[in-house]
C-alpha cells in the first residue's frame, strides 16, 4: 500500500518539532488505538505494547485504525502499529510489541520522549511508575496517564518532579488492583451492594486520547502550565473541561524509588547476551571474577518474584522436574511433569513436598547450561538494571562495610524496543 504524503502547508507550523519524536503507548485498547492514530498523524514515531488480542465484542470501542472484522484475533499492539504504518511521516517508524510490561526494565523506556499509560489496571501502572522512577532523570521520559469513567475522560501529564504516577492512585483502589480500572478509579461500582461494571463509550475513550494528545502537543511546543496537570472532561449535563494540579501524596512509596547512584554499561542487549558473556564483560569492568549477579527482582501484583527455579516438583505427582525459569514467569500449570501433562492432569498447590533447587544469584561458577542461557531467559527484563554484588571476603551482609554493589545495564536495550515484536 502506498504511503500517505501530507501537504504540510495545510498542517500545523509546529509539525517539524514532532518529527520522529519517539512515544510508547502501553495498552492499545479503547484509548490506545485512538492514540496510535493521532500520534501517527501528528508526525511522531509511536511504538505500542500490549499482550491482548482484539475481539469483535470490543469493536465498538476501538479507533477505526483497527479494521472490523479482519483484525479480530490479532495482537492489539502489532495490529495497531501495522495499521499506523501508512500514516507515518517519512523517516518515522512504529513498532508493535506483543508483550507484558513486567518483561521490561527501566532502560527500555530511555529512548522515548513520552510514555503513555493507556492500561486498565493499577498493578501495571504501579509497575510502570517503579520502572520510570528507576531511570536517571536525564533519560526519564515524560509520562501521560489517561482513562475514562462513565462518560468522563481524564488525562494527566507528569515529569516526576512534582509528583509521581503512584501519587495519583488512591490506596483504596489497590485492594483489588487486578480489576479493570481507569485513571479515575476502579471501573466497578457498587449499586445496592452489588458490583456493577462501569460502562463507557467510544466517545469517552476518544476524548481521553484527545486530551493526552493535546497535553503532548502543548508540552512539545513548550507552553507554560502544561506539565504536571490533570485535564478532566465532563460530559452532559455538566459539560466542562477543567485543569488541575495534582498534589504529591505524603509517604508515597512510588516517590521513595530512586535511580541507582551510578550505572556501568555493558555492550549488547539482554535478549542476545548470554550469562557467560555478561559475566566476562562484568569481570573486565570490575577486574575480578569474585562477584555474583542478583536474580532479577520483579515486584508485581503485591508479590516480589526474585528466584530462578532450576528444579521443582511436579505439582500433581510430586516427581522432580526441571524448570529453568524465573519465578515471575512461571505459572502453576508450568509445574507439571511430561507424564502428568500427557494424562491431562492439573497442577495444584501441594504441601507435602518442599521446593527444589532455587537460585537467588548467579556466579561465574554457575553450571554450564545456565551460563549459556540469555539473560532474558534467566528472567532479566529488556532494559534491566542488573545488580552485581562483590562480597570481598564478608561473612554476610552484616559486614556491610566490605560489600560493594554495582548496577549494570546494556547499551543496546533501548534500541531493541524498536525492533522486537514479541516479549
Amino acid at each position: 500500500m502506498p504511503k500517505v504524503v501530507y501537504n504540510v502547508l495545510k498542517l500545523s507550523e509546529y509539525r517539524p518539532l514532532f518529527h520522529d519524536l519517539r512515544v510508547l503507548v502501553i495498552g492499545t485498547g479503547a484509548v490506545g488505538t485512538h492514540l496510535m492514530e493521532k500520534f501517527a498523524k501528528m508526525g511522531l514515531s509511536p511504538d505500542a505494547l500490549d499482550f491482548d488480542h482484539f475481539t469483535l465484542e470490543n469493536a465498538a470501542k476501538h479507533s477505526c485504525l483497527v479494521r472490523t472484522p479482519e483484525d479480530a484475533g490479532r495482537n492489539k499492539a502489532e495490529c495497531a502499529s501495522d495499521r499506523a504504518q501508512v500514516l507515518l511521516d517519512d523517516g518515522c517508524s512504529s513498532n508493535g510489541i506483543d508483550g507484558e510490561l513486567c518483561k521490561l526494565g527501566p532502560e527500555a523506556f530511555s529512548d522515548y520522549a513520552y510514555v503513555v499509560a493507556a492500561v486498565d489496571n493499577f498493578d501495571a501502572k504501579v509497575l510502570l511508575n517503579e520502572l520510570i522512577r528507576q531511570l536517571p532523570e536525564e533519560r526519564r521520559p515524560i509520562l501521560i496517564m489517561d482513562g475514562t469513567y462513565d462518560e468522563m475522560a481524564q488525562s494527566v501529564i507528569l515529569d516526576n518532579t512534582d509528583f509521581c504516577l503512584r501519587c495519583l492512585i488512591d490506596e483504596s483502589w489497590m485492594k483489588d488492583s487486578s480489576i479493570s480500572t481507569s485513571c479515575a478509579g476502579p471501573q466497578v461500582r457498587q449499586i445496592d451492594g452489588v458490583d456493577e461494571i462501569v460502562r463507557t463509550s467510544n466517545l469517552a475513550s476518544c476524548i481521553a486520547a484527545d486530551l493526552s494528545a493535546e497535553q503532548l502537543r502543548a508540552s512539545v511546543i513548550g507552553h507554560d502550565g502544561v506539565m504536571n496537570r490533570r485535564l478532566t472532561y465532563t460530559s452532559y449535563p455538566h459539560l466542562e473541561l477543567s485543569a488541575a494540579h495534582p498534589m504529591r501524596k505524603r509517604n508515597c512509596p512510588g516517590c521513595a524509588i530512586h535511580p541507582p547512584a551510578k550505572i556501568e554499561w555493558l555492550h549488547g542487549n539482554v535478549m542476545d547476551v548470554t550469562l557467560k558473556e555478561a559475566m566476562d564483560q562484568i569481570a573486565t569492568v570490575l577486574g575480578t571474577t569474585d562477584f555474583e549477579l542478583s536474580v532479577h527482582r520483579l515486584n508485581y501484583r503485591k508479590v516480589v518474584h526474585g528466584v530462578f527455579i532450576v528444579e521443582d516438583v511436579c505439582h500433581s505427582c510430586g516427581r522432580p522436574i526441571k524448570v529453568m525459569k524465573h519465578d515471575g514467569r512461571v505459572f502453576l500449570d508450568d509445574l507439571l511433569c511430561g507424564e502428568c501433562i500427557s494424562q491431562g492432569k492439573h497442577a495444584h498447590h501441594i504441601d507435602d513436598f518442599s521446593r527444589g533447587e532455587h537460585l537467588h544469584a548467579f556466579e561465574p561458577s554457575s553450571r554450564e547450561d545456565i551460563q549459556q542461557m540469555s539473560l532474558y531467559d534467566l528472567g532479566y527484563p529488556l532494559g534491566a538494571h542488573i545488580e552485581v554484588i562483590q562480597r570481598n571476603g564478608a561473612l554476610d551482609f552484616l559486614d556491610a562495610e566490605k560489600i560493594t554493589k554495582t548496577v549494570f545495564a546494556f547499551d543496546g536495550d533501548h534500541l531493541k524496543m524498536h525492533e522486537i515484536h514479541k516479549l
Binding site: 528507576q134 485492594k175 512509596p253 541507582p260 516480589v304 504441601d351 507435602d352 513436598f353 518442599s354 554476610d396
Partner: protein, 210 residues
C-alpha cells in the same frame, strides 16, 4: 534499589511499604542482636556462617536437648539424639522477603512441620509481621517437640503427626521445659566504674567575720 511489599495493619488496611538496602541490613543487624541475646547459650547456640551467592545472612541454630531425627525421605522411624541443628538463611530484601530454614537431609528433625527433604515449613511470610526472631523461636521450640508451635492442620510430613501427638499425650514432649531455652531475664549488672579521683577532703568552714 529498594524492596516493596504490601502491609496489612491490624485494622485490615493495606498499604505499600518499601525498604532500602540500608534499611534491610539494619533490620538484619537488629534481629540478629535480638536472637543472639535471647537464648541460653548452654542450650541454644547461634552461629553466623559464610554466606553463599544470593544470601544475606546464614545462621546455624543448634539446640542441645533431647530430640529425634530422621535420616532420609523414606525414613519414618524417629531416632533419639541429643542435639539438632537448623540452617536459617535470610535474603536481600529482608524483612519484606521471606527467610528459608532447613535441616541436613540425613539428620533432619522428626516433626510434622518439617518436609521429608529436610526443609522446615515456616508459616506464610507476612511482611513486617513475620521476622527472623519469630522463625528462630518456632524452630527451637519445634526441636524440643513443643506442641505449642506444631501445626497439625498443615503438615509437611504427615507420617510424623500421630507419632508427635502420641509423644505429647504420653508427656514425653516437649523434651525439656521450654523456658530452659531462654537466657535468664535478669541480666548481670555492669561492672562498677572505677572512681576517677579520690573524694576531696571536706573544706574547713569559713571564719566568722563579725
Amino acid at each position: 534499589m529498594s524492596y516493596v511489599a504490601t502491609y496489612t495493619d491490624e485494622n485490615g488496611q493495606t498499604r505499600e511499604v518499601s525498604v532500602t538496602e540500608e534499611d534491610s541490613v539494619e533490620a538484619l543487624n537488629n534481629d540478629y542482636k535480638e536472637i543472639a541475646q535471647k537464648y541460653d547459650p548452654k542450650v541454644v547456640t547461634i552461629q553466623r556462617v559464610q554466606t553463599q551467592a544470593g544470601e544475606a545472612l546464614h545462621l546455624k541454630v543448634t539446640v542441645k536437648a533431647p530430640t529425634h531425627y530422621l535420616t532420609s525421605n523414606l525414613d519414618m522411624k524417629p531416632k533419639a539424639c541429643g542435639f539438632m541443628t537448623a540452617d536459617i538463611i535470610c535474603y536481600p530484601g529482608y524483612p519484606l522477603k521471606s527467610v528459608a530454614a532447613s535441616y541436613a537431609p540425613d539428620h533432619y528433625l522428626a516433626s510434622p512441620n518439617v518436609f521429608r527433604s529436610g526443609h522446615a515449613c515456616i508459616d506464610t511470610w507476612i511482611p513486617l509481621t513475620s521476622s527472623l526472631p519469630k522463625v528462630v523461636d518456632k524452630l527451637v521450640h519445634d526441636m524440643i517437640h513443643d506442641p505449642n508451635v506444631t501445626r497439625y492442620d498443615s503438615t509437611a510430613n504427615p507420617y510424623m503427626k500421630q507419632w508427635h501427638e502420641d509423644g505429647v499425650a504420653a508427656g514425653r514432649f516437649p523434651t525439656i521445659p521450654p523456658k530452659r531455652l531462654y537466657a535468664s531475664a535478669v541480666r548481670p549488672l555492669p561492672p562498677r566504674r572505677a572512681a576517677s579521683k579520690p573524694p576531696a577532703a571536706t573544706p574547713p568552714l569559713p571564719h566568722r567575720t563579725h
